[in-house]
Subunit: 476 residues, 2 copies
């Protein structure tokens, strides 16, 4: 038993190593033969599928449709929007040879798809009657990154990217905000990760955007993670790609566009927010396995216990994601640890005494609490406990966020908190002060929070007149 | 009305042009800025999602789990299995530059993933207890094709590829056949496309396989389409990638592997099998829209008709994929044609008389038949008709297949059938005869059918002793 536990480095000793240990031990991911690439194993991928289901339901309910745009983008398209190309070119992987021949024009493996989508939208949109266009795609993207970490920052990752065109500026702005709220709902309700919603400062915006909205979450080591973003692109891309429509008044006008994305990075956030020194803790709503049944089968009553356990499994199977761990080669203790490492929310233990009493022991992964439950009350107890775990994980994470969010009047105060956590303060709006903050503390402006406090004092860097309230932190 | 119809070239005039017209008019796909690439629009992509759902259900029920492997494969991995590399290298797109630097080793954009999956499996599998490994991935692949056609053959396409490892040869063979049967079920039951299942001849096998099983379908122009394949790879890839396990008897052994794939090509098959001169006909089970309601709102009773139509929509919405077409700028006649072009299985027409009679007119896309239905019987009639359409489309396609499948004793007989259709005959097993067949008729051996007739005569080319019964045809 202790053998197993030792394999995960404690958070307090080395957080980065803890993270790597957990994802390997939980069998979520492995490193690919090329540096910076990952293989997402079934146990990790299943979480992604639950996220996809939740997002798709929200996207469809708001009129969005899924589509698929090409992986490869001709260089000339990528170059059309000046800020965009400046932001993304350094990270691009280029295809230069195809079918045995050097290509006349090299092709970018998409780092994001605004350019190719924009080129198609320009072709499809003619009249105001064609608007809004509300599309989303689930795809892989490649960004050549120097420092990578599974789920959090990898050269290739999976994501969804929404791309919309609207008739008016206000409709496009409303879309940008609506999608941010969808992300907030899915991330808070499904992944149980509390987020802070806000606007990015100019220096932190998406390349080519007028406004970037973001959700920021606090990780277990006190750093922030940008977990989803939604961009109001104004008419920048419409002008670069000539997305025009004939309006009802007979005037030819440029469309107003948005884009918004969320990725497998969310799974990295889930691990860091909920994991503990025993391994993962997965919120029940996105858990590949919600209940594991471990039979204690030593001795003469082994067969009887196994039969009893199988009956429980059969009963639960139609409503929950359940597995009976009947591996003969492992002890119950080993199995307890194994499934704790993998973060299964509920464990059912059954031994000879439980069979005799027509009962079972239910153990919660989040709190470690155990209770004996009568067999008659099996389903209702499981439902109630899974709900309780989902809520408790969110509540714990929210408490953690509150405990580590502090107001400061000068950025030097962050030193006494070990540069950990989220800091509220005021800002004069000058990028030079943002630069100072970064150089001196390694912190960046995470966002200008939407629901944050109002301006109280002067800029946390220069002390001069503040124009915005900001949340700043070290970030992934 | 005739204006709209004229936009689709009749099948009999130019089948290729008919195909292109249909997919454009039905708004399923568009050409991307790079030759050979396509954009799958929402109406096409939704069909893909239904196929994914059906396949995923079958895969899961048989113990397979989804995972994700990297897009880019180092050249050295691709070179490991000799036949495989020979088959795929000419079609590979190469990434040679990443992050502004020329890469030390060029990276293939995956044309298929046996190599990268094999490299990972070698790392994950140690003991017989780790077997079988049953994984599937949904992904994009790139194969540099010279002649392309949307859905049927494109440089990039979407697919699923399953990769499994087994302890014994017979288990791997059983898996190969099981997956073929899954494909057959989904393609016949969901897409209503009847298929012929068989083994590929040596010359037509997947590069690196011991045996390739295939499903072949007959298209509307008399050509065959290979619509899904399942490969028994023996120990070829296990040896190339060193996938070994310690068996229960203490001996280190190579695993037996399989791979199997199906792609967006299936949507091309659906279009060609079911489409007619009015456009698409989509089987109800995979139709993005199953029912469209067209209100006839001219005159003073327009508002009343629209209200009545909305009530019908509300009633149907919870059980069917339904849309009320209340666009004011188009006539009912235009709408009828528009939705026929898009292949919506059922159309409901409602006018003032229907409101008065508490009835509606139901028109079937597959047969053109119309019936007046009492409002009380709405749901049950829609269910029955959708089921009837699903069955009728399959029955029609099966009849078409039977009508165009002919037995011959010599390959020259195909000339009198205009080289159209599927031909049954015998074969001596020599590749030289397969080559003659191809040169002389443009036909290839589609398969050695699993349920086909037995050998009757001599080889259709050389007349000598036959060893196999074959189905041959011109193919996509």
């Amino acid at each position: 038993m202790e053998n197993v536990l030792k394999e995960i480095t404690p958070k307090s000793v080395d957080y980065s190593q803890w993270y790597v240990d957990v994802i390997k031990k939980a069998d979520m991911v492995d490193y690919a033969p090329i540096k910076g690439f990952m293989v997402i194993k079934p146990y990790g991928y299943r979480i992604w599928e639950f996220i996809q289901d939740a997002m798709n339901a929200e996207f469809r309910a708001t009129g969005h449709e899924n589509a698929y745009f090409p992986l490869l983008i001709p260089e000339n398209l990528l170059l059309r929007e000046a800020e965009h190309v400046e932001g993304f070119s350094p990270e691009v992987a280029w295809v230069t040879v195809g079918g045995g021949e050097v290509l006349a024009e090299r092709l970018a493996v998409r780092p994001t798809s605004e350019t190719i989508v924009g080129a198609m939208y320009a072709r499809w949109i003619q009249s105001y009657r064609d608007l809004p266009v509300l599309m989303n795609q689930w795809s892989n993207v490649v960004r050549w990154e120097k420092a990578t970490r599974p789920f959090l920052r990898t050269t290739e990752f999976l994501w969804q990217e929404g791309h919309t065109v609207h008739r008016t500026e206000s409709e496009a702005e409303a879309e940008t905000r609506q999608q941010l709220e969808i992300y907030r709902r899915v991330i808070e309700q499904e992944l149980a990760i509390p987020v802070i919603a806000g606007r990015k400062s100019a220096g932190e915006r998406f390349a080519g955007a007028i406004d970037t909205y973001t959700l920021e979450a606090l990780m277990g080591d006190g750093r922030a993670l940008q977990i989803a973003t939604s961009h109001f692109l104004g008419q920048n891309f419409a002008k670069a790609f000539n997305i025009q429509f004939l309006d009802e008044d007979g005037v030819q006008k440029y469309g107003w566009t948005t884009s918004w994305g969320s990725s497998t990075r969310m799974i990295g956030g889930l691990i860091m927010v909920h994991g503990d020194d025993k391994g993962l803790r997965i919120p029940p709503r996105v858990a590949p396995l919600q209940v594991v049944i471990v039979p204690i089968t030593r001795g003469s009553e082994g067969e009887q216990v196994l039969r009893y356990a199988r009956e429980l499994e059969t009963r639960l199977k139609s409503r929950f994601r359940v597995r009976l761990d009947d591996r003969a080669e492992y002890t119950p203790g080993y199995k307890y640890n194994d499934w704790e490492m993998r973060g299964v929310p509920l464990r059912i233990e059954v031994g000879p005494r439980d069979v005799a009493n027509q009962a079972l022991v239910l153990a919660r992964r989040d709190t470690g609490a155990k209770e004996t439950v009568s067999r008659d009350r099996l389903e209702e107890t499981v439902v109630n406990q899974l709900t309780a775990i989902q809520h408790n994980l969110f509540a714990q994470a929210l408490q953690e966020q509150h405990r580590n969010r502090r107001s400061v009047t000068h950025y030097r105060e962050v030193e006494k908190y070990g540069y950990r956590g989220l800091f509220d303060g005021d800002w004069c709006g000058r990028e030079s002060c943002a630069d100072t903050l970064k150089t001196e503390t390694g912190m960046t402006i995470r966002c200008l929070p939407l629901d944050g406090p109002t301006i109280q004092t002067g800029c946390v860097v220069c002390g001069q007149l503040a124009v915005s309230h900001i949340v700043f932190a070290r970030a992934y």
